[in-house]
Subunit: 464 residues, 2 copies
């Protein structure tokens, strides 16, 4: 039986890059540049038949020449060469391998045979293999990545991703890094799962203190029973959020040619996942949406939202969505909250939750109105989370937003999400100010509630 | 009976601004600045008891002093003063009024009484009133707006909006102008609909040659029967897309305090709207999403999509969504299309629609692979529309995107939508290049398909 512990994948003390390359932009060079950019402190041993030096490192001509004590090899060789590379690594006592190459079962019958051979090499040698057909993995607590996609320094944080698509630690990670302001702990592009599968990684992340929430993109479950068992243990401790591709006949057909996954019976799986406290999402973008919400903020203690809105139309629309699609409610506020809201509003304004802040903002200015209303609602014991939509435009004057991170600090158990209407450039400016200060923002008003709905679901199985 | 024709609203030859103000940022000044910024060529007559000059214009002290021949008055006075203003305008033979003030039935019982009084003044005098409680309206074919929100020059285009929220021609229009690249024809914030309602405006837009597609945000239908009758006539000619707020009990309650709307029975209405060929959407953001899709592109001739994807995971996920939520299909491609795709792909690649472009892009470069695949799929008679997702990053090199507007020109009957993975800044750059050249882009991969699904629904009732 292969060794269970994935510690060497996520915290290798030294690595070999087999198929290292001197050419700019080639995977065998980029992978080393990525490690350097992330401050990896272990030894890096490039392997290439030409030998010589690469980025200041001695290049070994063969795997056999490598020094001993290497924890992990990243193999960037054509598909045909990979089974032998696994055996060569085993001979040098390298117990963990990331296999980048595509061209296996996802391509044709010859590839299927090759994948069988690879699986056999892994099984016989006991070497743990990630891939093939993956852009690699990321482990920021170890300053490490095996990704060959030009990423540079990867922001650190509590989100871990496990994706049954090689691409995830490539272009999709680049998307997160460039469009969002949250950081990641461990990210794994599983690829064709010839050995290491989603359940292995789940087991590791279950007790990983660097991982605050776990997100999966899966096309199949190799070991559904074990996965569900781990889920039952994890979901009381941290949110587990799953997008399962191949849920329909068409999706399943596409999954077959993508990662050669045979879809499990989706309906049975769905029930089991829900029972185990896993939150199932249905849009790829929500892998980022819910992550940006949970990364800097607490999980809400329940589904009762205080909503501060500048527009009656938004209140009407979001009320509809909360009724139709989300399991979120707008609770009645305590008398003292209502008193405070009345104090900051012009007379004769009908007040309730959601709070129409427009009259107060017109009279007292945006900063005062939002600060006081949000403070009142955050203090209310009936409220678990606060969403505010702000209208920002240059012409009306940008308010100081300092009060929002201050409110977040003062109310550390209640998430605050901000959304916008108005001038795009001002919204981008507010995002750039608020998100590094721990307050997530959502360009579309619905998105703040979609994220909250996902996390309120995760809450249900969390203990304490 | 009040006059039916809204022509004076949408193409006034001269206007009065009653409650004009010299103070910067005040609605009574901004409204004039907005008209100027949009090149309004008619006469503007400010009214303010102080008289004097304002922005180079002679200020009249009272409505009575105004010259004759004024088509439209924009009344920016406190609620209490508005019924008299309507009567004063009638006396000066001004037949159309935009009423900006809030403080009517949406506020309290006194406001309800005032609104009754206003309705009576409109009825008795035959003066047509838009509002109250609205930021005004926009009519770019007449270089005109009555909005008091600082908008500047409003981009021209074929999209018309009718919204039962005053805000729409304010902050929400600012959002469209700053975040998107499409233009508008007529936009109306209905407000409390004391007189002019959604059906009046619908009737005008039905035969308006500047309006290519009509979008509604409604909280109630004052005259559902008439609205449905007009819809039956319009939907064979142009897409009519409706977001109906207050669809649920909670939403309806919120609508009551927003625009004092009594919700109609939503289920009955829903069936009637569908039968009349109206497409009903369920997210506020989709008012912008579908507009940006239809503004520069033809409505697809059907629901058969050619999908060019750089990731198997996207194919799996979108296949699921098309099965579960959208009425879109991925048709089999013609043999000659398949031949062409095979020619541009490495050997042994499984090809079908959706097209996994990654292997071809790896071998031939992004520009060649996308251009040839999109050309082949656009030429295929089985395909009604093409969606391409591109991975753009600085490190991999930005491809030239000139070929995309060229393909759009060559295939004028098939919409092309572009979405992205990868580097946010590159995607923004591509958006800034493509959208002014008539190709809409969608930052989230699901959104291109959401938009297409809405327009494929609209297609069903379109003639020819």
């Amino acid at each position: 039986m292969a060794q269970k512990d994935l510690k060497r994948f996520f915290a290798p003390r030294s690595v070999a890059v087999i198929g290292a390359s001197a050419n700019k932009g080639r995977p065998g060079r980029v992978v080393i540049e990525n490690m350097r950019a992330n401050g990896y402190k272990g030894d890096i041993h490039p392997v290439n038949p030409r030998g010589g030096k690469l980025l200041g490192l001695r290049v070994f001509k063969t795997i056999k020449d490598l020094p001993s004590g290497i924890d992990l090899a990243i193999v960037i060789l054509p598909a045909q060469a990979t089974p032998q590379a696994v055996r060569d690594c085993a001979a040098r006592n390298i117990g963990s391998i990331v296999l980048v190459a595509g061209g296996f079962a996802e391509v044709d019958h010859a590839g299927e045979d090759l994948q069988q051979e690879l699986a056999q090499a892994s099984r016989e040698t006991g070497v743990r293999v990630l891939g093939p057909n993956t852009a690699g993995h990321i482990s920021t607590p170890a300053d490490f990545t095996s990704s060959f996609f030009p990423l540079g320094e990867i922001p650190r944080g509590g989100i871990s991703y496990v994706a049954q698509t090689g691409n995830f630690t490539g272009a999709m990670m680049k998307h997160i890094m460039s469009a969002e302001n949250y950081g990641v702990a461990r990210c794994i592009g599983l690829g064709n799962t010839v050995d290491i599968d989603e359940t292995d990684v789940f087991e590791f992340l279950a007790t990983d203190r660097h991982t605050k929430a776990i997100f999966f993109y899966l096309e199949s479950l190799r070991r559904p029973r074990e996965f569900i068992e781990i889920a039952k243990q994890v979901t009381p401790k941290k949110p587990v959020i799953v997008l399962k591709g191949g849920a329909t006949a068409d999706g399943a057909k596409a999954a077959l040619s993508h990662t050669a996954s045979m879809g499990s019976d989706d309906r049975i799986l769905d029930g089991a996942l829900r029972q185990a406290g896993v939150v199932r999402i249905d849009e790829f973008s929500h892998l980022f949406l819910a992550a940006k919400a949970v990364a800097p903020m607490p999980v809400p203690a329940g589904n009762r939202v205080g909503f501060v809105s500048p527009s009656g139309a938004f209140i009407v629309h979001i009320s509809d969505l909360c009724r139709q699609r989300f399991n979120l409610s707008f609770p009645d506020l305590m008398p003292r909250t209502m008193d405070r809201l009345r104090e900051i509003s012009p007379p004769f304004i009908r007040l309730s939750n959601p709070v129409d802040i427009f009259p107060s903002a017109t009279v007292h200015g945006m900063e005062f109105a939002y600060r006081e209303a949000m403070e009142a609602v955050l203090t209310d014991p009936n409220v678990d989370a606060v969403v505010s939509i702000m209208i920002l435009t240059r012409e009306l004057g940008m308010p100081s937003l300092d009060f929002i991170p201050e409110l977040a600090k003062k109310h550390p158990k209640k998430p605050i999400y901000i959304s916008f209407s108005g001038d795009h450039a001002c919204n981008e400016e507010a995002k750039a100010f608020l998100e590094p200060r721990g307050v997530p923002t959502f360009p579309l008003i619905e998105d703040a509630f979609k994220a909250l709905d996902i996390l309120a679901q995760a809450r249900k199985s969390l203990k304490k």
